[in-house]
Amino acid sequence: MENNQAENRKAKHTMEMLMMVIALTLVTVIAASLLGVTDMFTREPIRQAQRAMLHRSLEQVLPAHVNSPIDDKLVWHAAGQNMPVYLARDARGQVTAFAWEAVAPDGYSGSIRILIGILPSGGIHAIRITDHQETPGLGDGIVHNKPWLDFFVGKTLDNTRWAVKKDGGNFDQFTGATITPRAVVKAVRKGLEFFKTNRTKLLKMAAHLDIQSEKGKLPS
């Protein structure tokens, strides 16, 4: 009798365990398939939304152009990373500006991503912040403060002291927020230095890209 009871209890226990496993597995499978289906429907729209976002930012940092910079890009390999450099061209196919995304790792909270548009002469055409986690109302002035953003226009390595005023430079800091503008100014300066060092190579790559696309068009 006792043996029977013990066995019964054991069997019941095994049943319960099995039920838990089945229940959790089923819930997981259903959840996973729901996510799979959603991913199918949202993957393309998400890609397009990100592309539209980049397109909008590019239009803001590049001068008037006849090409489509979002597709007319070269890829710069540096430090194991591939950085797309977007190009603006005039009607003759000449590159009129470069744009790429610089990262300021030293924002007040996390990295700040900055899209920099540079003219072949080495002057800034415009900059826009594409991603940040700075304090609303303080550091996020780098996004909304139009005069501050416009101050970058036309600045080169030589005609500007690349630091905030507190550090003896030309750029305004914000009331209550120095770290954020400091990080942005530093990142843009580094971008200018990068461009100065690699200007010839970038121009050559851009010209080569143009020849390639011309070749690509020939058969058709």
């Binding site: 319960e16 229940a23 959790l24 819930v27 996510l35 959603t38 949202t42 729209p45 303080l138």
Partner: protein, 217 residues
């Protein structure tokens, strides 16, 4: 409990924010403007609806011991779905709300509704409850967002109220202002409740035991 009671309870007497003080993280984090509060609330409503309905559907089938992981799984799935959808079709707002969208998973108010209500009630009642609680949460987010936007930026839903020269009242944009504004709003709500004379009931209704007591009565 009839539908009207469920609605009144979830939206007002048992309001996630004002009565239970749950979900403070998204509340204080995203309510720098009314529109942010609205969309955060909308995302939460969708997740709550989904999780409450599914939890209610599977309530007879999930063994007691593993119900919490099962509920969390359901909630996490719906949060991810809502996050993907916002990323696809409301990209700008998705970027603004950022981390707070995935964090809906750990909004204890949602697990709270699954455990305290949906696991014990019919699908229709659970959906009603989700709507009521979700809208109550949205109402709270929008109220705090409006106060902070009006005082902090002098605008409402992005429309400037006091002209160009409003000196941004930064404190209300920053977290301290959120706490202060929330304190005053809750004080105000308590005054209203006392005038109406249902304060004691609203506190009691927070506890699942109170539900059964009311049902028996």
């Amino acid at each position: 409990m009839n539908k009207t009671e469920i609605l009144a309870d979830g939206f007002w007497h048992n309001n996630t924010i004002f009565a239970q003080l749950l979900g403070m993280c998204p509340l204080l984090g995203v309510t720098t403007s009314a529109i942010n509060g609205f969309w955060m609330g909308a995302a939460t409503v969708l997740v709550l609806l989904g999780s409450n309905i599914v939890v209610s559907l599977i309530r007879g089938f999930i063994p007691k011991n593993v119900r919490i992981p099962a509920y969390i799984m359901v909630i996490a799935a719906f949060v991810t779905v809502v996050g993907m959808a916002m990323n696809a079709w409301m990209h700008d707002m998705y970027l603004i709300l950022g981390l707070f969208i995935p964090l809906i998973v750990v909004n204890c108010a949602i697990l709270g509704r699954a455990e305290a209500f949906a696991s014990k009630n019919s699908v229709l009642d659970s959906a009603t409850d989700a709507l009521a609680v979700g809208l109550g949460f949205t109402f709270a987010l929008m109220l705090l967002g409006s106060v902070r936007e009006i005082l902090g930026h002098g605008s409402f839903f992005g429309i400037s109220l006091f002209g160009e020269h409003y000196p941004d009242f930064l404190m209300f944009v920053l977290p301290p202002g959120a706490f202060i504004a929330l304190g005053f709003i809750i004080a105000g709500i308590n005054i209203i409740n006392r005038r109406v004379g249902r304060t004691s009931q609203s506190v009691a209704a927070c506890r699942p035991a109170a539900h059964t007591a009311q049902e028996q009565a």
